[in-house]
Every structure is written in C-alpha cells, then in structure tokens.
C-alpha cells in the first residue's frame, strides 16, 4: 500500500533532501513507524509521548489529522499526507 508523504524543507535532512517519499500503513501511527524504518530519526521530530508535536501539522488529503483521530487516523491506499510546521497565518 503506497501513500505519498510530502516532507517540509526543515525535515528533509532525514530524507536525503527528498520533498516527497512513499510509505505504508493503515493508520497514521503505522505510517510514521514505516517512515522511521526508512528514515531513522524522523518519527521523533513528528511525535512526542504518543501524540503529534505541538508545532507539527499533518494533513490527510488536505484535512488536519487532529480532527480525524490524530495519530490513529485511518489511511487508505492513494491518500496524500502532508507534513508542515505550524506557522503564523496572515492577519
């Protein structure tokens, strides 16, 4: 099962500079475990004590995973996952 994961600039040191990588998992937590197996150290930048880090946003098909079950959010083949740092919006 292939899910495309878009990686922000700040975390590309873990992915050899790749903007986008493929990973697998039936939930976000499984996906992050697979990412960690491929790119050691990445999981710790995303997750802390079993939940997403405060300044990390992850979206499944452009929807914020915090409203989809968080780390347990379900994934299906062909989903797009986007990781972004939380930044101040326009105002």
């Amino acid at each position: 099962m292939a899910i495309e994961v878009s990686i922000p600039t700040i975390l590309r040191t873990y992915t050899d500079g790749a903007k986008s990588v493929e990973a697998a998992g039936a939930t976000l937590s499984e996906l992050i475990a697979d990412l960690e197996a491929q790119f050691p150290g990445l999981a710790d930048r995303l997750v802390e004590d079993g939940s997403l880090r405060r300044f990390v946003n992850i979206y499944i098909n452009d929807e914020d995973v915090r409203f989809l079950g968080g780390i347990d959010a379900p994934l299906t083949d062909g989903d797009n996952v986007t990781v972004l740092p939380a930044v101040a919006g326009g105002a």
Binding site: P8, D64, T82, P85, V87
Partner: protein
C-alpha cells in the same frame, strides 16, 4: 444607513446567497461580505475592538504609539482607526506582501518595519515582540493573543450571521489569528446545536515555512481546537480557482484567501449534498481583490497564477 462617523459603521455586512455555486436548493451557500467594512476587510471588527478594549483598560492613552505584526489587513484597519483617534501606528510586515498593502498603510499614516520574507508572519511576530521589548512604552495589541479579537466576532459577526440565517448548519472561515473562527464559532455553538465550524488555512510556498527548527513554530494563543469541527489546508491553485469562480459565477470580486475559504465551503456543501442532507453553509469573504491585483492571481492561467504566488503571503 446613517452613522455619526466612519468607526461607527464597522460590521452589519450583507449576507449574499450564491445560487449558481450552491449544489442544490437544499444545500445553499451564503457569502458574508466583510469587504463592505470601512477599510475593506473583516479586520476592521477586530482592530476596532482591540483598540477600544485597550482604551477601556487604560493601557492605550492619547498620543500612544501602537505596534502590531500584520500581513496587511489588520494593519490597515488599525491605521485608519489610529488616524481618527490620534494614535501613532507602527506595523511589522513581512516583505513578501503585495505593494498595495504597504501603500495603503503609509497613506493612512502608518510606519512600516519590514520583516524577512522567509518565515512569513512567524518572523513578523518575532520581530514585533523584539521591538516591543525594546520600546516598553509602545502598546502592542497583539491580535494573535488578544481576547478582544475573538470577542469582536462573538459580539457582532456571530449574531449577525444567526439573525440573517437562522437555519445555518455550517460556518466556514479562514484561520490566521483564529479570531473569526473562535469568536463566531463559540457564539454559534452556543446557539445552534450540531453546527459545523470549519477552518480553511492557506498553504503557502516553501519559503514561508522556512523555520530554522521546529521549536520556532507558532500556534496563536487564541486558538482552541475544541471550537472547530475540522480544518483544511488549501493551496494557491485551489484558492485562485475558487476566487475566479466566485467572480465568474456570482459576480463577487474577492481576495485570494476568500477563494481558499470557498474551496473548503464547497467541500462541506458537496458532502452534505451527497449525504442527502439539508444545509445552509455560510462563509466569510475576508476582503476584495483590489490589494492583490499585482500578485498575478487574477490573470493568465491557473498554473501561471500559482507560480506567481509562490513565496508570497497571499492570505
């Protein structure tokens, strides 16, 4: 409508039905035209409320200097109010904002401190906090954490929506300071059981997410995720596409952030229509398109517009 002065005319904006964009007679879209405020954006509400709150608690006194990080609209609203009320305004604004915004700010008499493009509004907030620490007699209203911002929408925008659309089922707005969503959301949740409160946040180009480390990330102090039903990230291609559709199908000339909000609104409307539910989806038109004409969003193909917006703070 007659008002004694411009500041009294903030709010009371029209709610316009969108028969051509609505999926069906049972699922209707409604646009709240916040560009009809005195300086042309929804930010007039928060700016005036923050100034009045600071006057009331004594932190803002005649002749004071106000300092504020802004990507444009809040600064423009504050500049107008500051001019009429006799305050000096200094805005910290990222340099990757359209020139219309700095021209308007200067016309209303504001001074601009530029913050670096990389990091976007994050940098503006950081620089403003630094400048505030160096100038303790200046008053930073700080829209990202000022309860008067959300309170303005709890007190005015929310009640206006409910009065004009008692059958409202969904409210969709942009997520910047989070003030509109927190204030309207809190009000509507109290009055309308089961209402959906939906956030649309702009997804910018990579430059804007250029933090040195993740600990420099930022979540506005006003943000309370328990108010929201869900939250969508909308990129420039969808935002521009919807901005153009709003003009072509309904005649409304809006800014690019409104296109991002409409994209999310159309998503929840389609979902309701597919489920066979009745829905009245109201969303915020934050401002008109005038201040963004120079960005390239309004001419050429969608792909050309997307490329032109890369690296710009378009919402």
């Amino acid at each position: 409508m007659r008002y004694d002065c411009l500041l009294d005319s903030v709010g009371h904006t029209p709610l316009i039905g969108l028969p051509n964009l609505s999926p069906s007679k049972d699922v209707r879209l409604w646009a709240k035209l916040e560009d009809r405020n005195p300086t042309g954006s929804v930010k007039d509400r928060a700016a005036l409320a923050m100034i009045e709150a600071a006057e009331a608690d004594g932190s803002l006194t005649p002749g004071c200097t106000i300092l504020e990080p802004t990507s444009g609209n809040t600064g423009i609203s504050l500049a107008m109010a500051a001019r009429l009320k006799g305050y000096k305004l200094i805005c910290v604004m990222p340099e990757n904002t359209s020139p219309e915004r700095s021209q308007l700010l200067r016309m209303w008499g504001a001074e601009i401190i530029s913050s670096p493009a990389a990091g976007g509004s994050n940098e503006a907030v950081r620089v403003a906090k630094q400048v505030a620490a160096e100038n303790p007699d200046w008053v930073m209203l700080y829209q990202y954490g000022n309860p008067a911002n959300a309170q303005a929408h709890y007190r005015t925008t929310g009640p206006e929506l409910l009065q004009d659309l008692p059958t409202i089922t969904h409210f969709v707005a942009g997520l910047g300071t989070t003030g509109t969503l927190m204030g309207c959301g809190r009000f509507l949740r109290e009055k309308v059981p089961g209402i959906s409160i939906v956030a649309a946040e702009p997804r910018y180009g990579e430059l804007v997410y250029g933090l040195r480390n993740l600990d420099e990330g930022f979540v506005p102090e006003l943000y309370d995720p328990s108010i929201l039903t869900t939250r969508f990230s909308v990129g420039p291609l969808d935002a521009v596409r919807r901005t153009r559709e709003l003009l072509e199908l309904e005649g409304i000339f809006a800014g690019i952030s409104t296109g991002a909000i409409l994209h999310a609104a159309l998503g929840v409307a389609a979902k309701a229509a597919n489920a066979g539910e009745k829905a009245d989806v109201a969303f915020i038109v934050c401002d008109g398109g005038w201040k963004y004409l120079s960005t390239g969003a309004y001419e050429g193909t969608l792909e050309e517009a997307e490329a032109a917006l890369d690296g710009q703070l378009w919402a």
